[in-house]
Amino acid sequence: MTANQTKLTSLARQSERSKQIKLAKQRDTSQLAVSLVAYVFIGAFALFCFIPFWLVYIGSFTAESQIVQGFRMLPTKFTLDAYRFLLQGSQVYQSGFVSVFITVVGTAGAVLITSMFAYVAAHPKVKYRYVLSFYIYFTMLFPPGLVGYYLLISNWLGLRDSLLALLLPLLFSAFNSFLMTSYFRTLPFELNEAATVDGAHELYIFFRIIWPVSMPVIATIALFYALSYWNDWFNALMFIDDPHNQPLQMMLRRIVSNSQNLDYLNTNVNIPVSATGVQLSAVVITIGPIIFLYPFLQRYFIKGITIGAVKG
């Protein structure tokens, strides 16, 4: 498209906009009805999504005597006992450390290798880029199955009860790599060529030129990996028995499944708490970091996934 054409289309779009605004002002009744349905339905669904979180949050601050009477929308007897109980044990710190550690280290490693691979798979100079993509794609068509996975981690690699059993399995996701590849394909190849003419090394081009212009997609993928590490419990369920190496999600699961057995938390304080209260406060602590990060990252990931998906 020449510069002139772009200018023309942008002009056309502008006039379209002004027409649209005029039309929007004189909305007909059908528009009104649809809008009404939209507000009611979306509002209701948003509440439906939010209320369970609210109930858990309020429940975690509610005294034992009130909790057994069921969840409330508003706190009746405010107390921090459940948190005090949970935070005086040593397990929550140990598990918190494991979760943070695997999330930070895992995400860094995963983003690095995924972005390098996706870049190569999108690089026009690489003749076998489609072979590389198919090599990954085939694993999605024909997954190895649970037995092979189990044998690999626990018998062949001998990673039982090791933190590597939590780190390695999530280090690469085919879906994330395709999202990135389709983003890199939209970058102008001239960026790369110009740098090559100047004699820049491939690694230099990638880290110094490609990375900075790819921040939206890298942030998105980093968030996806971070979430899958933070939320992982399956690998812990399969391969980790030692309480020392259990992440927060697994701690939570243990509290739920042995709700009578709060000894697991290694706490030696005598606060009369209900198992439910401890569960709910553990949920709040486990959700914590995501809720704080979420509003900041939301704009990025919607943009990132949109670019990856629509152009892919």
């Binding site: 439906f48 390098m116 690489v126 690694l203």
Partner: protein
């Protein structure tokens, strides 16, 4: 050789892809060899390669057993429910969010409907257990206040397909709507404008313009879902149902079945589980190839590959 010349020429680029190539080889291709166990009598001492070949015995055992049909039907049935409910709800959310002009309302509600996607399934399970638990669960309280009989949820298999679908929609529909919404906002206004000039009402515009334009996206996403129809949602189902055999009737899926046979104390459990896993992988491959073939016939633009 031509290959070597190409590898030499772009050696740094190929080197950059090497970590993933090696990783995928170890973590995806090597475990595929465990499918061989389906044809062997696994003994831990001899390992995968040393164990003896026993032909089709494991597969025969699985297919002549009482369980296979039940778990397969459950897996397919639950997945169909999930795909249908998930697609319809995601589509509705996207279409209706698109109608909302109030920017602040739109932003807040969109954040809220996506929120459950980011929460681990362990937390979802815990919420479900707390809400549906016995007599004093939240839902039963509401029921008794409204004058209904309380339901003993964890002993009633018939309600779980419906409950699991609701939980699935709660967790995923908002997230699923992003892709539809992204596609929607890319449509040219011209279509809608000319429809408006012809006197089309808003609902007619959605029905005759927006939905047909969204068709390829809907087909591709449904296909991706159908391709995984032999895979149960292990986290969701096992996390809530666990080993509660009262509910197996309606909720046991291939994944939970494999997991249990892997854990069982039976000597030959690995081989049995491998037979199930092989069945699952092969059927998965066949379904994805089949649906892709169907779509190529019907609507060539929407094919996956």
């Amino acid at each position: 050789m031509r290959i070597w010349r190409e590898l030499r020429k772009n050696k740094w680029l190929y080197a950059m892809s090497l970590p993933v190539v090696v990783y995928v080889f170890i973590f995806s291709y090597v475990p595929m060899s465990a499918h061989l166990l389906a044809f062997k009598q696994f003994s831990p001492g001899k390992g995968l390669w040393g164990s003896e070949w026993i032909g089709l015995d494991n597969l025969t055992f699985f297919f002549t057993g009482p369980d296979w049909l039940g778990v397969t039907v459950n897996t397919i049935y639950l997945n169909l429910l999930f795909i249908a409910a998930g697609t319809i709800c995601s589509l509705c959310i996207a279409l209706l969010l698109n109608e909302i002009r109030h920017a602040y309302f739109k932003k807040v509600s969109q954040s809220l409907v996506i929120l459950p996607h980011f929460i681990s399934i362990v937390i979802v399970n815990l919420m479900v257990i707390n809400f549906f638990n016995g007599q004093d669960g939240m839902i039963n309280r509401i029921f008794s206040q409204l004058g209904f009989e309380p339901v003993n949820w964890f002993q009633t298999p018939a309600v779980w397909p419906c409950l699991l679908t609701i939980i699935f929609v709660w967790k995923g529909a908002g997230w699923g709507s992003i892709i539809y919404l992204a596609t929607l906002t890319g449509f040219s206004e011209e279509y809608f404008e000319s429809a408006r000039i012809d006197g089309a009402k808003r609902l007619q515009q959605i029905w005759y313009i927006t939905l047909p334009l969204l068709r390829p996206t809907i087909i591709v996403l449904t296909l991706l879902g159908l391709g995984r129809i032999f895979y149960g949602d292990f986290g969701l189902i096992y996390g809530i149902i666990g080993d509660n055999s009262l509910l197996f009737n309606s909720t046991d899926v291939i994944d939970t079945y494999t997991y249990r046979s892997l854990r069982s104390t039976n000597m030959n459990s690995y081989s049995n589980a491998a037979a199930v896993a092989l069945f699952q992988s092969v059927m998965g491959l066949i379904t994805i190839l089949f649906f892709n073939w169907v779509v190529r016939r019907v609507d060539n633009d929407s094919k996956l590959f």
